[in-house]
Amino acid sequence: MFLKELSLRNFRNYIELSICFNKGINIFIGENAQGKTNLLEAIHFIHSLQSFRTQEEKSLISISFKDALLSAEAERGGSIINVSALLDDKGKRVKLNGKKIGKTSEFLSRLFAITFSPDDLFLIKDLPSERRRYFDRAILPHSPSYLKTSARYDSILEHRNRLLKDIRDAKKGADTAALTPWNEQLIEEGTRILLKRHQFVEQIKPFLEKFFQSISKSSKRPILIYETQLLPPLRDEEALSGVNMADEIKGIFRLSLSEKSREELRYGHTLVGPHRDDFQFLIDDQKAKTTASQGQHRMIILSLKLSEAALYKEAFSEYPVLLLDDVFSELDEIRAEALIEQIFDMDIEQVFITAAKKESVPFSNKRCSFYLIKEGTVRPY
């Protein structure tokens, strides 16, 4: 898929913009605070109907204006897709090919972007909850039902936590028999989440290793691990797939719940389930969190993004648009060049990259289209 045309009105520091893009690698050059990230944010928004920088969409509207309008023409699988989004104090109104759409989830299968932002570098060191959020989002395009499953799981968890507290505080009518249906549902929906996360991590693994080695120009092995108490020990591939695994997880889940039941009643809190899990990056069996360099962190996250793009391509036979913000800082020339080489190698249909100077782009290659960003304007460079 690729973006052909983008128009912005009152979006961040773009009061009026209309621009056409080419396939291939597009590079936005500009000094600090000129609107490079803002432009990526707009492109990301058109592909996902949300910002990668903020949940508060009002901040996307240019200061002292009432509404913002984004519209775009993109191509996917040979057919044209028109999207427009109007943001105002009432929220956002989105049209897809001229028709209003209600839920953002209806949009998920249309356009898609994978975005690297320097903020993503926190992922490795951040709290487990941030990592769970990251991967849960990454799973979504591959499993539309995952959103509902997670929402159901969260509500079950809330009910169950309340019940545990009520039992602990000996509230009327709260007893362990009343807990049973919430245990059953926690296991049911929790198992779906565990399976999806496990499958996702297993699919990412080989890509992550390949891309990391190619970008870092080393033979070090990065591994992504889904850390949970509820998966059966890994065996051969065959044993991993299918219904059997779900049954095994349910068994382990049930057992852990009964082992922890006294503790849970003491704390008034659910101590078992995918809401307690984490993801860990290793490089050559060492925790990246504590031992890897800044540059290695960056290369792990970049490899993760490329892996997500590759996985998307496997599933939908088309690459998403790839957006890389401020990607070259902290990468030495060799790694920066290796990254660009890797992107060319994959033959991703369209990529947008921001950089401060033309010279910081590893090779001012004819294969890239350059744009100069200055005070909310864009022109070929």
């Binding site: 009910h159 309340r162 009518g173 709260a174």
Partner: protein, 199 residues
């Protein structure tokens, strides 16, 4: 401000209704204020009549004007089956199909710890009495909603019913008839697959 006092009281009272917040309550109150006198009284009377003349059936908790509802007192009904639902409105939906000939039991709610609703707060005890009194009930069909609260209620009930030695079944979720498989959401599809049957 006596005037505003009466209006405010109505707004406060309307806000007790489910799904009605401050804004809606205000809109309704002003609407009533402007309404024809007889029409407004009609609404008030309907509420009073509802409270005076209708009540919950002493057997199944359906809404009735008599002690026992029409369905429970109908000799043509199949007394071996009881279909359990959350609300009286669910009963109307099933009755419309004219397919189900058994009895009902309305729980008037579903288990919901977050709302402080436990097994004792919905009409489970009455159901268990109907099963134990030697009334010859052979099957309880659980048709609570497919929400997590409805599902929790179904799981809780099915255990109780089975331990009373009676068959418990759960209605199947499925793809809406007449709709295209392609447009069914994935959760519905998964649930329909899980609930598949031999043909």
């Amino acid at each position: 401000m006596a005037q505003a006092g009466v209006l405010n009281r109505l707004i406060e009272e309307l806000m007790r209704l489910p799904g009605i917040g401050q804004k809606t309550a205000q809109r309704l109150a002003f609407f009533l204020l402007k309404m024809d006198d007889s029409e407004a009284r009609g609404i008030a009377r309907a509420i009073v009549d509802l409270k005076e003349k209708s009540r919950f059936c002493s057997v199944c908790n359906n809404i009735t004007e008599a002690e026992i509802c029409e369905i429970c007192s109908d000799p043509m009904r199949d007394r071996k089956k009881i279909l359990v639902i959350e609300e009286p409105s669910n009963l109307l939906a099933i009755e419309k199909t004219k397919e189900y000939k058994g009895l009902y039991h309305v729980l008037i709610g579903a288990l919901s710890p977050l709302d402080g609703i436990g097994p004792k707060d919905i009409k489970i005890e009455g159901l268990m009495q109907r099963l134990s009194n030697g009334h010859g009930v052979e099957e309880v069909i659980i048709a609570t909603n497919p929400t997590i609260e409805g599902e929790a209620t179904a799981i809780y009930l099915s255990r109780l019913i089975k331990s009373a030695g009676i068959k418990a079944t759960r209605i199947a979720y499925g793809v809406p008839v007449g709709s295209d498989l392609e447009y069914a959401d994935e959760v519905t599809l998964i649930k329909s697959l899980e609930g598949r049957r031999d043909i």
